[in-house]
């Protein structure tokens, strides 16, 4: 290659890109790269990378999902929600056994279905003798969805509406405004169905709750909310003496009723801006290279 005075970029930087074949290859590579970056920036977050505390909700017009073993649940995405011992003043509060609960949710035009599945080797259905405690599970919502209550049973001004099922008492619906204030509603508006399947270490409980979206009375969570709906979970292993504050609980999570399945709106905006910026940089760089090569 003859020397033709100073040019930009310097040849030492561009190395041996000197032929027309090289030139075409550069453009092709750049295009592919740009396309890949575009796809990964815009499409990937929409598909899988949901925020850590979001639990997906499948929206369908109608469904028959009240039973834990209903076929439709196979189509519904599940979240592994980690559990840990609740902070509590009761004896042995840090002695809990269940470490994770699988959560699925479906919202129809009429009802919200929540399916919880967790491992428990023993099916503890009774509290019929002095030392016997039953397995139980609960889903906690803010009674008023405008703000997030304290995680431990809410607070006096910020109460929680709890869906509770235990092997011994069946389904209960509770209202609480702080630890120790839990009070059952006279008639639960929530329905629950439970099944214990398998044996030994692989045995699991599955419980499906459902309730009408519309709040049937005051102090019950209105599930028609347009915003994200805060939700948390608790599991008790009866054969370990778990009851009251001795329970495995999650942090606050949320159902993305507001922002759609791709997460809150600000996140989409940020990814879009980033994607455009990256595409622009690649475009400008490619154009620069093309013009430099073309000028020779």
């Amino acid at each position: 290659m003859p020397a033709s005075g100073p040019s930009w970029p310097p040849r030492s930087v561009l190395g041996g890109w000197s032929t027309m074949a090289d030139h075409r290859r550069t453009i092709a590579l750049t295009t592919v790269l740009a396309a890949l970056v575009l796809v990964s920036t815009v499409a990937a977050p929409m598909a899988s990378a949901r925020p850590a505390h979001e639990i997906p909700v499948r929206d369908v017009s109608d469904a028959n999902l009240a039973e834990p073993t209903a076929d439709g649940w196979e189509e519904v995405p599940a979240s592994d929600v980690p559990l840990s011992s609740a902070p509590s003043s009761v004896p042995n509060a840090d002695d809990t056994t269940v470490e994770t609960v699988d959560v699925q949710a479906v919202r129809t035009d009429q009802r919200l279905y929540v399916r919880l599945e967790w491992q428990d080797a023993t099916r503890d259905m009774n509290a019929n003798s002095t030392r016997e405690f039953a397995d139980a599970v609960a889903v906690q919502f803010p009674a008023n969805t405008s703000s997030r209550p304290p995680i431990a049973m809410g607070g006096p001004d910020n109460r929680v509406n709890v869906w509770y099922w235990s092997g011994a008492t069946g389904t209960q619906e509770l209202l609480a405004g702080g630890a120790g204030s839990t009070t059952p509603f006279q008639n639960p508006a929530v329905e629950a169905n439970a099944t214990h399947q398998g044996t030994g270490g692989n045995a699991t409980w599955t419980v499906v709750y459902s309730r009408s979206l519309e709040a049937p009375s005051e102090n019950r969570t209105d599930l028609r909310t347009d915003g994200d709906l805060d939700v948390s979970f608790a599991v008790w292993n009866g054969s370990n003496g778990e009851r009251s504050g001795q329970k495995a609980v999650s942090e606050w999570h949320y159902y993305p009723f507001g922002g759609g399945p791709e997460g809150p709106p600000y996140e989409t905006l940020l990814w879009t801006v980033a994607g455009i910026a990256i595409v622009a940089v690649i475009g400008v760089t490619s154009f620069g290279i093309y013009r430099t090569r073309g000028a020779e």
Binding site: S89, V90, T130, R131, G180, T182
Partner: protein, 358 residues
């Protein structure tokens, strides 16, 4: 000791220590020297309060033989109560097993009554323990064996660890008379009260799935009976030897105050649990030990250390005081204490209306 009580009667030098927020404190004194172990108190209580499903195994009032395992078996070692006199940290306890309470046995009535069996009447299977399994067994070797009966109800403690144990405040000490109750609407059957009571006097109802306990027959002392009359708790009224005094600890004219606070001869059971019981006991006397030849010697038949373990170190002085007063009367002297321990006038034995006008 000064009073915790907000004194609304003007007698500010009262020595009676009742719980914060409680106006007056019901109390009972049981004279163990009068108990014949007939269980009439037990049955009076059971007929009134624990006949329904789920409460079969419960004896809010029981009478156990001491030394002995008691009811429920081994309750004295089952934990509960307080770690210190500050009443800030509770000692964890255990929930007794069904077998420790003793299950209701099934008997062979059918075979004997209708099928002509000539077997003796007896429980079918699994009769291996019951509330009075070791009744009258006691301890010691002939000719110096010994035992006595210990009637027990809820102590309606001044510092009830069962109340503190409940994360839902379902148990409470009611303001007017310090009776400890379980609010059946608040209770969710967690049983922290059952394990937290060192006397194991809160019971889990296996049908209602809630805990329950001795209520000091509050409807009777409130005059809820047919004629609006006030009655002492059934366990006291029905007692054939009338060994129980019932009244208020802070009724300074009453026999309970005198026995507990003035003469200091009525003692709480296991004060080391630090719940400050309001049921007190006149400790038991027994004849001196016998030699092989049947001579009585001046050695305690009931080891003094055993009584100290039950009633605390105050038992020595209590027994000495009673002994001294007994000698005085024997020699023709007067003793108010002996009068109090023998008094059969119900108006004094049961003083439940002294604060009615407040």
């Amino acid at each position: 000791m000064s009073t915790d009580q907000q004194d609304d009667q003007g007698d500010e030098d009262t020595l009676v220590n009742v719980a914060d927020g409680v106006d007056h404190q019901v109390a009972m004194v049981m004279d163990l020297n009068k108990c014949i172990g007939c269980q009439t108190c037990t049955i009076a209580c059971k007929n009134l309060w624990t006949e329904d499903g789920g409460s079969e195994y419960m004896y809010w009032n029981n009478v156990e033989t001491k030394p002995g395992e008691g009811y429920p078996r081994g309750w004295e070692d089952s934990g509960g109560g307080w770690e210190s006199e500050e009443h800030s940290d509770r000692s964890p306890g255990e929930i007794p097993d069904e077998e420790d309470y003793g299950r209701a046995w099934e008997f062979n009535h059918e075979e004997i009554m209708y099928e002509g069996s000539d077997e003796p009447l007896r429980p079918r299977d699994g009769a291996e323990w019951g509330p009075n399994w070791d009744e009258d067994q006691g301890a010691g070797e002939y000719p110096n064996s010994y035992y006595f009966y210990l009637p027990r109800i809820c102590n309606h403690c001044t510092h009830p660890s069962c109340v503190e144990a409940c994360p839902r405040s379902a148990l409470y000490k009611r303001q007017e008379d310090g009776i400890v109750l379980v609010d059946q609407d608040r209770c969710r059957g967690y049983r922290y009260c059952v394990e937290g009571c060192p006397y194991k006097k809160v019971y889990y109802n296996t049908v209602s799935k809630k805990s329950e306990k001795c209520i000091f027959c509050y409807p009777r002392i409130e005059g809820e009976g047919p004629d609006g009359e006030t009655f002492a708790p059934a366990c006291a009224e029905e007692c054939p030897p009338q060994l129980r005094l019932v009244g208020f600890l802070d009724d300074e004219e009453g026999p309970i105050h005198k026995l507990v606070n003035e003469y200091e001869v009525a003692l709480p059971l296991h004060p080391e649990f630090r719940t400050q019981p309001n049921v007190y006991y006149i400790p038991p006397f027994a004849p001196g030990q016998h030699t092989e030849d049947g001579e009585t010697v001046d050695i305690d038949r009931i080891p003094r250390q055993y009584l100290r373990n039950l009633f605390g170190d105050g038992v020595d002085e209590a027994l000495d005081t009673i002994d001294a007063h007994r000698q005085r009367v024997r020699q023709g002297g007067e003793s108010e204490l002996m009068e109090l321990l023998q008094d059969k006038n119900p108006a004094k034995q049961y003083r439940l209306e002294v604060f009615d006008d407040e």
